[in-house]
């Protein structure tokens, strides 16, 4: 059975309803389970691993906080590109023909920029709850990587309802926004915009 990958996420009537429904259920279930597992695993690691307090720093930056804030801000910038290019892909905004490529690659860059930040957070600081800002950051930080995993895996599933990807993508974007607001923006407001 060959299916045009570009049409894979479109909602179209299945020729074999029973089999299609089962495939569809698996298509939801696996990403949902993986998302839960990723978020829980990150949270559990952050809670169990004794925070090291520090980790290696990048050259050219004064502190690890500054490195993380700038990486996170970079990821946030690409996330905005994600939002706009997604609107183009779905035809809600006029966009170039390469909007899809832009969406894929800006997403990859944003994700890869966010990973080192998360590693530092979990390794050096851990899952903390001592004030609301920190609690929300810890919680949504774990949620973000879970939701992102789900979004990536959903892209591989066929015959999803058309609204599903935008909803999950929106969740990922919203989570990243709060994570950024509670960390990098807080850092810049508290310590000034330093490098």
């Amino acid at each position: 059975m060959t299916v045009d990958p570009n049409a894979a996420t479109q909602d179209f009537p299945s020729p074999e309803p029973a089999r299609g429904r089962r495939q569809q259920a698996v298509g939801y279930l696996v990403p949902a389970l993986v998302a839960g597992a990723v978020a829980l695993a990150l949270g559990a690691y952050g809670k169990v691993h004794e925070p090291a307090g520090t980790a290696f720093n990048l050259a050219g930056f004064s502190s690890t906080g500054a490195v993380k804030s700038w990486l996170a801000t970079g990821a946030m910038g690409f996330a905005v590109v994600q939002f706009v290019s997604a609107l183009m892909v779905y035809g809600k905004l006029p966009g170039p023909s390469w909007a899809g490529v832009l969406h894929r690659w800006s997403g990859r860059v944003a994700f890869l920029a966010a990973v080192p930040v998360a590693v530092h957070c979990l390794y050096a600081l851990g899952y903390q709850t001592y004030e609301p800002r920190v609690l929300w950051h810890s919680l949504l930080g774990c949620f973000f990587f879970g939701a992102f995993s789900a979004k990536m895996l959903l892209l591989r599933s066929e015959r999803l309802p058309g609204w599903l990807l935008p909803i999950v993508g929106g969740l990922v974007f919203a989570a990243l926004t709060v994570v950024w607001l509670t960390s990098a923006l807080w850092f810049f407001r508290t310590f000034g915009v330093t490098t």
Partner: protein
């Protein structure tokens, strides 16, 4: 036919995370790893012999372990401050004279509220939790101090900040006492000196012109 791009993206992120984790684990910049080599820099306290019984194999904390709370107070001679943080039967304590002598001590709390905490440099804290306060002694090798630490509510308690600032490893420890007074030491590559005040609400502190964040310490 399924797209493999998203899968590669996820695997790439996982790979990057693993590489960074292994770098962190191998470079060993964590304070616990570098703490042992810092004793020679402390002038006043001659590095005591590390105790053979470094790992206190006390019985595992029972379910009725004392509740989670922070305690802070002064030594009997008023020269130094002691703070203890209890979480789930484990304790971490910080002894600090605000000038050049400090020690982080760790250990378990028994069900009866008694604790024996040890530092990597051989310091020992023996304490007992009774009636909302911990009293006992801290043996810093050269001298033994009696202390009493009352229950401390945020923002009082113990804080730590570790960052690398322009190539130097900064390691700061603070005790915020219930009356708002602070006792702290900042070590620059292992050399101790009096610490600037932290903002107890945010943990913000300026060290050598660099803004750092001191975070509450828990075992």
């Amino acid at each position: 036919m399924k797209r493999s791009g998203p899968l590669f993206t996820l695997l790439g992120g996982l790979l990057l995370a693993l590489v960074m984790l292994s770098l962190n684990a191998t470079t060993g910049t964590s304070p616990t790893a570098s703490g042992g080599g810092e004793t020679p820099a402390t002038k006043v306290s001659p590095s005591p012999e590390p105790e053979p019984t470094k790992t206190t194999a006390s019985p595992s904390p029972s379910p009725s372990a004392p509740g989670n709370a922070d305690y802070a107070g002064r030594t009997d001679d008023d020269s130094s401050a002691v703070a203890v943080s209890l979480r789930d039967g484990k304790a971490i304590a910080y002894f600090c004279d605000g000038r050049d002598q400090e020690s982080w001590l760790k250990g378990d709390v028994k069900a009866d509220g008694s604790m024996r905490l040890t530092s990597k440099q051989g310091g020992v804290l023996n304490g007992e939790l009774k009636g909302g306060r911990i009293s006992g002694t801290v043996d810093m090798g050269q001298q033994e101090y009696g202390f009493t630490a009352d229950k401390a509510l945020k923002p009082s308690g113990l804080y730590r900040a570790t960052e690398s600032v322009r190539g130097a490893e900064i390691d700061g420890g603070w005790i915020v006492l219930p009356d708002g007074q602070q006792v702290g030491i900042v070590k620059r590559d292992g050399t101790p000196s009096a610490a600037p005040r932290i903002d107890p609400e945010t943990g913000a502190v300026t060290v050598d012109g660099q803004q750092l964040t001191a975070r509450p310490v828990q075992p």
